[in-house]
């Protein structure tokens, strides 16, 4: 594990990477997303775990994205993800619709190193009808007619997320957001921004260990204070609802989005690197 500057962390995401991102309320790596846009990354294949928020909308609007696999794209109370919706309408974005537990389950399959995992429900949904990569099989444990969905393992190239802190071993603390652990375990490696570095070993502290993702999975870390903003971080700072609402309004138009990018992303390297 190495500690890098934010832009160096962003440089570890190659064009075309299959990149897993958490939604806005789950330690979303907003500062890294902005750095990725500044570095002009292209053809990302994103996975919203299990949904997509502002970060995905920014990357789509900035032209960095080839496809998005997700259960939903939404800004929460602020409504539709505007650039995502516009790209779907324009046909410029490949959307691979899923349903939340299917994303968790496919990642759990990768986490365990098994090629598939079953999931109840979903049969009869058009989500399934549009997923030729998903199979329906007969439950092998009953002689009854019992069709069940099986999902192929989903192994992202990279999981990116924000955490409260990292230690020198690359262990990072995400607290109760354990869906991030599944995502990190399932991915080839993780890139993590943190509020701060701490000394010692987080896994040696019985109080902290349960909320830790082991450095085994972490390729590199960058300090990005308030790096989830405008998302929030557990009880450290709340989401900036006013900002998200303003974004939702402004990004309805291409021009508004361009203005937002110019103001908050392209000229913000100094502030994100702080």
């Amino acid at each position: 594990m190495t500690v890098l500057a934010l832009d160096a962390l962003a440089a570890l995401v190659p064009d075309g990477a299959l990149l897993a991102l958490p939604p806005d309320d789950s330690l979303t790596p907003s500062a890294l997303v902005r750095a990725l846009i500044r570095r002009n990354v292209r053809q990302l294949r994103l996975v919203g775990v299990p949904t997509a928020g502002l970060g995905v909308d920014l990357l789509v609007g900035a032209g960095c994205v080839a496809s998005v696999e997700t259960s939903a794209a939404s800004l929460g109370e602020a409504g539709t993800a505007p650039r995502f919706a516009a790209a779907v309408k324009a046909g410029t974005l490949r959307v691979i619709d899923a349903t939340c537990p299917a994303i968790h389950t496919a990642l759990q399959a990768a986490e365990k190193g098994v090629p598939f995992m079953p999931l109840r429900g979903v049969l009869g949904s058009d989500v399934l009808a549009h997923r030729p990569d998903w199979h329906v099989m007969a439950n092998p444990f009953t002689v009854d007619d019992d069709p069940i969905l099986v999902l192929p393992a989903l192994q992202p190239d990279i999981a990116a997320f924000h955490a409260v802190c990292a230690d020198e071993e690359g262990n990072v603390w995400v607290g109760r957001r354990r869906e991030l652990a599944t995502m990190a375990h399932a991915s080839r490696f993780s890139l993590v921004t943190v509020e701060r570095m701490v000394s010692g070993n987080l896994l040696a502290d019985e109080r902290m260990a349960p909320g830790v993702i082991s450095g085994v999975y972490v390729e590199a870390v960058a300090v990005a204070r308030r790096g989830a903003w405008p998302g929030g971080v557990l009880d450290e700072y709340p989401a900036d609802r006013a900002h998200i609402m303003a974004y939702a309004r402004e990004a309805r138009t291409e021009a508004g989005f361009a203005a937002y990018l110019a103001r908050h992303v392209l000229n913000a390297s100094a502030q994100d690197a702080a």
Binding site: P50, A72, S74, K89, L119, R120, G121, L123, E179
Partner: protein
Amino acid sequence: MSSAIAPQERLIASVARLIMEKQPTGRLHVAVGMASPVPAAACWLLKKSGVPIRISLLQRQTGGPFSEGGRELFDLAGQGRIDLFFLGGGEIDGEANINMVGTGAWPGTEVRFPGSFGSAFMYLVTPRTILFREEHSRRVLVDRVAHISAPGRSRPEVVRRGSAQALVTGRCIFRFDGDRFHLASVHPGETTQSIVENTGFAFEIPDFVPVTPDPTEAELALLRGAVCDEMLTTYPDFCQRVWGRSPAEREKTQA
């Protein structure tokens, strides 16, 4: 006497009554998804009334009921440990199919809705689902959804614990019998005729259609007090709109 009853207050009380209609033998466990202030308020109303209900609210500023991250809700539901869930949809049809994906060609080239979230799973594994959609128009309540995020009915061989119990809208309450919707009550100002005119699907109309009852005085007091208190940080806009209260005001009151 209370000030005028807000439409949302009636919806909240209606949802609360539907929740209480079929109690399991154990403690009722109700989960409420994101961006669902009316269902959340209905659960809080019951809890503040002393009903031993367990509420798992997915939308919270901090904290939350789970320690396995967002996955735990779905695992619980997969086991059948969530008794009741709420779903909405950009389109809902007469077979209780819901469309959260969009209209036009897949994946929503005409209008893109946010997406299916967990609906394709939750609708089948949860014993009861209350459908909630405030907008009641032929745009939303359609004869046939453009795409099925989650089906209202399943073939007999498909493992399914339940389906829609009811559909609550800004105009009325429908019940679902597993095949079709039945008009159960109309909100004040609505008539059977106005419901027919604004509904894109066919439904059963009983001989007598009651008016949806008002919340009681006790319910209103709870809604405007203890329930709003619980909702202020999670749904500030909703609380401002319905009750004219903001988190800042609460802090002032407590200070």
